[in-house]
Amino acid sequence: MTEYKLRTHNVRKTYGSVVALKAASIEMQEGEFLTLLGPSGSGKTTLLMAIAGLNNPDSGDIWIDGKLANFLPPFKRDLGMVFQNYALFPHMNIFDNIAFPLRMRKMPMALIRKEVARVLEIVELDHVAKRFPRELSGGQQQRIALARCFVYKPSIILMDEPLGALDKKLRETLQREIKQLHENLGITVLYVTHDQEEAMVMSDRICVMNDGSIDQIGTPNELYFQPSTMFSADFLGESNLFDAQVLEVGKDSVLMRGPAGMNVLGELKEPVKIGEQVKFMIRPETVDTDNDATRDNAVEGILKEVIVFGQITKYFIELSDGTEMVSTQLTCRGSSTIEIGQRIILNWAKTSTVILTNDAGS
């Protein structure tokens, strides 16, 4: 059995009558970057706090480095936590803030000076050591929070929406910096965000959370193109999501009857029965508008609207029964050969059809 760096098993936490976390189980390899992604109130912070030892779970187990850590006090867990609002100590200057964990570890003063200077250099803020947190900008405070966490070299770092309060530009810069620090230092990072793009960009794996439980864990790619639950399919990115009935089950493919009487071919991943009611999902960017009727799946409709979103263009097509389908294409010059009101044939490969059985994720 491989030893996980961090493992939780069926962790449950309630606040009075509110079940904040139902039964969360995650495993993390050493050096992995795992992101918890989910809507507000889905229990991300609660799980992070349980791992940090800041709230005692009602039941379930937490292992760190293969050792049971359910009730280990936070200061013995060898992990670092970056809080959403940074939690810099307002009564200490930047130097003292960063030196705090080292002082708690009884390091000699000379070494503390050296280490603080080292991390301040890493986050490129060596000139602010004498200032107080409120004298820094949001982005600078965020970097100091990171530095305070890196300085004592914890082997696991937990980050709770560390970039939530920053503007888009700064967020992107810091995303890259965090990613770089993660790679250079080889730390295990458990990250929380509700920005999907951020999760996609940064993570080795993403854990989608919904209503206190874990919906699906997988690489960004898997989650995006092969979601296994309705919630993940709907929550991540955009999707065309339809009801369908299974008509035929082949060796490696399934034929379904979808809206507007269309026949839809998909790959067989999970066993389904003939006649079963299922849903299927197609990402808009895998749907082509080039009138190619010979693909695995093809359906006719009327183009209702075209919206150019900079790099991409969205086509809204109405099928014969009024159902709407979306196709996303890269914007290119002269792509307006098709006009609104025109009939077009949408088409996509059977590998792009994701079948979602009703019991999963409901």
Binding site: A69, P73, F75, H91, P101, G138, Y152
Partner: protein, 602 residues
């Protein structure tokens, strides 16, 4: 970002209404004139008396006497000692409660705060008499101690330093708790969590992070208690022995018994000087702005500030270290099991401590209620039987009825007057930027800082010349002096959270300045204004010091009537009055709270 959006409207605001010069100070001038004439002027007169002798020539004889007679230095020392210990005990006992209150759910907090405030609602005098009965040689406490076999003979708990401490800490601790709580509520709980993930044990995290952040609250609370304690005279007079005489008692003696105004003025000067010296040191250490419960983390540059910070830092290091070692020791003795939660011993201890202190705060009030129904002829414990005779006696007595109605009229009038002077002043201070704003604010709230006895004696002196002694008007004007600072502080606090853009929106929609004020601003602020009014009302309703002097023994208010009654004979009728007052005050406070909540929901 946020600072921009906050500043922008106020900048536009001042540029939109640029009043002509003469009318600029129209809203603030009543406050300045009123306090100038009824507060500053008489106080200056009184202090001025200390520099002239009986024939009216300039002299320093009062001060040389003050300096030469060792007894006055001794009284000052005793006063400082009593105030100092009261402060220390109030902080030590109050801190755990404030901490608990700031960490529990808000519903739990609201119900606990009611109990903490209990001493405020029980009349000052009744509380003191309750202590006399409870702590006396054959009092309830001694009986209990004897019955439990803890002591063999009754302990002396009263008419000495212990008695004074119990009475004063009981009276002043709620002030300390509320001040500390207002700072603690704003401490981000994540900071302690962050400290513990960064490697600090519970004790270290507390001493190095939480405590320094709560220190401004401790200092402000301690400061308020200390200053208020300096002006006490009822508690030491009734609960203390001869050796616990405080400085205000000496002032009263000089005026009532010896009629030596000049010397009384000199002692008042001494008292005032001590207050100012204390304020100076406080300002050097922490800055006066922390008194309003704001925690500034700005570091004072002065020498005193630096020394204080060094000392504070050293103490915190030592305490943090000790707690850490204690934690390690406990770990060694009972190794931490990672599969089982450690019993939350510290939290339980906190609750027990807090509950004990709350019990201490509530006992006199709870004692008063049963005693008011006694059949006995004196205030004793336990009460015998059940009767309503004392209520009948009080309700049928013309003296009590007159006192109650006068108190009511005076309280309503002075609250109204205080509002009409204080509200415009608060608007002025909150909305305008001008040179000397801090000084003006300090001036308007200075009646809180001035020991009440000085105001009372000074007013007595002024009224004697104006013929206002013994009149309702005189009483109303006196209470208005005390009401103004509370109105200004309360209204400024609500204005701080008021969104000026609403006014601007009204203007752009075509409302003029007056319409905006009456249709938008005041309705939105109504909950806060009502709270300010109630505050002013309660202050006047429970006020004794000024009433004692300016009524001239002819007319009485409720507290004064109780005082006179108590000096003659301590009867259960007093307990009945106190119970009625308690019920009345509870109604006021609950309705204020109700209005405030409804205001929040809006």
């Amino acid at each position: 970002m946020s600072s921009k959006s906050e500043q922008l409207p106020s900048v536009t605001y001042t540029s939109i209404v640029r009043p002509r010069n003469w009318s600029r100070f129209l809203s603030i001038s009543p406050a300045i004139l009123f306090l100038g004439f009824f507060f500053i002027y008489p106080v200056v007169l009184l202090l001025g008396l200390s520099f002239v002798d009986s024939s009216g020539t300039l002299t320093l004889e009062h001060y040389t006497r003050l300096y030469e007679k060792a007894v006055y230095a001794k009284v000052l020392l005793i006063t400082l000692k009593i105030a100092g210990w009261t402060t220390i005990f109030s902080i030590l006992a109050g801190y755990p409660i404030a901490y608990l209150l700031s960490t529990v759910k808000s519903s739990t907090r609201n119900s606990l705060v009611i109990w903490v405030l209990m001493p405020f609602w029980t009349s000052f005098l009744v509380r003191t008499f309750a202590w006399i009965v409870l702590l006396g040689r054959h009092g309830a406490l001694n009986e209990l101690l004897l019955a439990l076999g803890i002591v063999d003979a009754p302990v002396r708990l009263i008419f000495n330093f212990t008695g004074v401490m119990i009475g004063m800490v009981h009276a002043l601790m709620p002030l300390c708790i509320l001040t500390m709580m207002s700072v603690m509520e704003n401490i981000d709980r994540n900071l302690v969590s962050a400290a513990s993930t960064l490697g600090a044990r519970g004790g270290q995290a507390f001493w190095r992070v939480y405590f320094p952040l709560s220190a401004p609250g401790v200092a402000a609370g301690g400061m308020l208690v200390f200053i208020t304690a300096l002006g006490f005279f009822i508690t030491p007079a009734l609960l203390g022995g001869a050796r616990d005489t405080m400085i205000v008692q000496v002032i009263i003696f000089q005026i009532h018994e010896v009629l030596n105004w000049g010397f009384a003025g000199a002692i008042a000067m001494l008292l005032l000087a001590s207050v100012l010296v204390i304020f100076f040191f406080y300002d050097q250490l922490l800055g006066l702005s922390t008194l309003s419960g704001e925690s500034t983390h700005e570091h004072k540059k002065g020498v005193i500030g630096r020394i204080g910070r060094r000392l504070g830092g050293g103490v915190i290091n030592i305490l943090g270290y000790l707690c850490e070692q204690g934690g390690i020791l406990i770990d060694k003795l009972t190794p931490q099991r990672t599969d089982r939660a450690r019993r939350q011993g510290s939290r339980t201890t906190l609750w027990i401590t807090a509950m004990t202190v709350i019990a201490f705060l509530c006992i006199p009030a709870l004692f008063v209620i049963p005693v008011s129904f006694t059949e006995d002829g004196f205030l004793g414990w336990p009460p015998k039987g059940f009767s309503l005779q004392w209520y009948e006696q009080v309700l049928n007595s013309p003296a009590w009825a007159a006192a109650a109605s006068r108190s009511f009229v005076v309280a309503i009038s002075s609250a109204l007057l205080g509002m009409s002077i204080g509200v415009p002043a608060a608007f002025f201070l909150a909305r305008r930027q001008f040179f000397g704003k801090a000084a003006l604010f300090a001036f308007l709230v200075s009646p809180i800082i001035m020991p009440n006895i000085i105001i009372a004696v000074a007013l007595f002196y002024l009224y004697a010349k104006l013929g206002l002694v013994g009149t309702n008007i005189g009483l109303i004007l006196g209470h208005t002096i005390l009401a103004i600072p509370y109105v200004v502080i309360t209204v400024m606090a609500i204005l701080k959270n008021y969104d000026h853009r609403l006014d601007q929106a009204a203007w752009t929609l075509g409302a003029n300045k007056w319409q905006t004020l009456t249709r938008i601003t005041l309705p939105l602020l109504s909950a806060g204004l009502i709270a300010a009014f109630m505050f002013a009302f309660v202050i006047s309703f429970d006020e004794l010091t000024i009433a004692l002097f300016v009524t001239g023994g002819e007319v009485t208010t409720l507290p004064k009537q109780m005082w006179d009654d108590a000096l003659m004979r301590v009867s259960p009728a007093l307990a009945a009055v106190a119970t009625l007052l308690l019920a009345f005050m509870s109604c006021i406070i609950f309705s204020t709270e109700y209005v405030r909540r409804r205001g929040l929901r809006k």
